[in-house]
Symmetry: C2
């Protein structure tokens, strides 16, 4: 039995970002008047800022997305918001890709819950709902806009894990495909493939079920339309990929990933590889587990003429190989989903090293 | 720009009806303690009732679904609830097919809004949210569980029209595919085809857009799995059809139907034909508008060995032909969606009569 919390309302279509001011009227009815915007630092100085209805009580915080979000980083943002806004926060708005959206979701939750981000890494640990949260994706693929998690790296515990909770689901989404028109091609591809990858992982897992499957199948169908076409970033394809990402997030909120994401998390922990390019690097070495899908993935890469970093694990120390192994096999839920309870007999240290060495 | 309100939470899976008691704890936190259950009269005396957590403050009302819901009927239910429960209504629970779900949604809204059901037939006319509402479909296909409408016949105005509002969306859904195991085969088929039909109408319309299309495509894919298989009512197929119905409801909440539904509404108004069998009767006469889909529809009927009422418009008076015409072409939005602003030049009285005569 699964209870699935969905995004309460979404707006979809070119130009919908213009309606954000209206969306924010609702949470302001409860007394607080300030809005904190978490905006990907990529947009610092861009004209996207002029399109946000930033008022006198509001604050804009640029999220440095050079590295993946960390629990310490999220805690620092929470402190900053508390200091600058003194409790007057009606809404948290995230404008960016998965890293920025996840940051905004985690901060929203921590403004209404005691303690630190690391206290809530896991499943259903938050006692209180967060501040009203609005997601505005400027990249499509991670599914962060539709999911019930906020993934953060916890350096102390050498762990990449999400704050999984119904309270992590956005209250409102503004899905404006105009915002993904200027994304660099490589990043557009890598991020979009996150949807493709978590959907094929979900469909191949033992925890699969009909609802997650339906969302996964449709998200994959849209990914195929986009990445096997001549112009993956046409308006029609940007619309499709934005929907695929949202549906992929809905699918994965209902099931689990598989072998790719744990290996990718290993790359993130040891080399600070970004999630989406990390997934693609791993996917390209997954012939043993997802043979058909790896072929299709390579076909898409070729069709879009996208390069992939190579030899990413050259010349590692034994300690680094051990770190890679540890930060991969720690992801028990997805690995059990993909390979069964006995996954460590399949993913031995030697096998894991051999797979990483292919990347 | 579209704002789409979604069902807040859903539970999916065999046996989830057992969790209804937990679901109802939430609305009871606000003070009221009573729950009113609207249950399809088909279940009067059945053991489904034993599975509902009916308590001392609760009332069960059996909905006579012999005919489609009417505005007068809904008003009478509202009066009954007000009289029996004296304001102590924490939640309205609908247990049944589209007629019962629509009835429960409309009653929930009218308990918190002044006036009569007919006052709110149209778009976005309700000033206040309704009482917390939970939908438990026992039939799959109408999409009533996922939609923002509640369709009622208004005898006075000779009109079949919905109470379209964000407030008409269920707060919670319990999607339990066990509940559709005992549906008679014909009814299972006719109702399931409602999803197929409104999705093909939506995809063929001019108001189509990428989000509605994605839901429609996935719903259609599931319908094909179900109705082109050997056992449309296997557990796997009941799960698939339940999801198709929910997704079809989500699609149509974002777009419009086409030529089939207006003709079917005509049959409902004049002959009290039920919505779903009416759709199938009309679909079988739609070669001029949906040639490919009509072929597939017939293939599904044949595969499942489902009969269709024939010669439904034999021996009509001129007044009845006029009624049929009037109650068909009154549906301007879907007909404009399908045929353009000038739809009456295509659907002349003679053409409409000729199409009805084929049924």
């Amino acid at each position: 039995m699964r209870i699935t919390k969905t995004v309460g309302q979404y707006m979809f279509g070119a130009g919908t970002i213009g309606a954000l001011g209206d969306v924010l009227q609702e949470p302001k009815k409860n007394g607080a008047t300030g809005v904190v915007y978490f905006v990907d630092h990529f947009f610092n100085g861009s004209d996207l800022l002029d399109r946000l209805p930033v008022g006198a009580d509001d604050h804009v915080i640029f999220v440095d997305t050079t590295d993946e979000p960390t629990t310490d980083g999220v805690d620092a943002y929470v402190d900053q918001v508390k200091q600058q806004m003194d409790g007057n926060v009606a809404a948290v708005v995230g404008v960016g890709g998965g890293a920025t959206l996840d940051t905004s979701k985690a901060v929203s939750n921590l403004l209404n819950n005691p303690g630190k981000a690391a206290d809530y890494q896991g499943w259903d640990l938050l006692p209180n709902p967060g501040v009203f949260k609005v997601g505005i994706p400027t990249l499509s693929g991670t599914g962060a806009e539709g999911s019930r998690t906020s993934v953060m790296m916890n350096q102390e515990k050498n762990l990449k894990l999400g704050m999984n909770s119904d309270y992590t689901v956005f209250d409102r989404l503004v899905l404006d495909p105009d915002l993904t028109a200027s994304v660099p091609r490589d990043q557009y591809f890598y991020t979009g493939m996150d949807t493709y990858i978590h959907c094929i992982e979900s469909l191949a897992g033992s925890y699969k079920h009909a609802m997650a499957d339906a969302y996964s199948h449709q998200a994959l169908s849209l990914c195929r339309d986009v990445f096997l076409s001549d112009d993956m970033q046409s308006q029609e394809n940007r619309e499709k990929l934005m929907i695929a990402s949202y549906m992929g997030g809905s699918a994965i909120g209902n099931s689990f990933v598989g072998v790719v994401h744990p290996f990718s998390a290993g790359l993130s922990m040891v080399f600070h590889t970004h999630h989406c390019v990390g997934n693609c690097i791993v996917m390209n070495a997954m012939d043993d587990f997802y043979a058909t899908e790896v072929k299709e993935f390579r076909q898409m890469m070729e069709r879009q003429d996208i390069p992939l970093p190579e030899n990413v694990c050259g010349n590692l120390t034994n300690a680094q190989w051990q770190d890679l192994y540890d930060s991969t096999v720690v992801h028990e839920k997805p690995l059990i989903n993909a390979l069964g309870d006995d996954f460590k007999s399949i993913l031995t240290p030697d096998r894991v090293r051999e797979i990483f060495a292919r990347m």
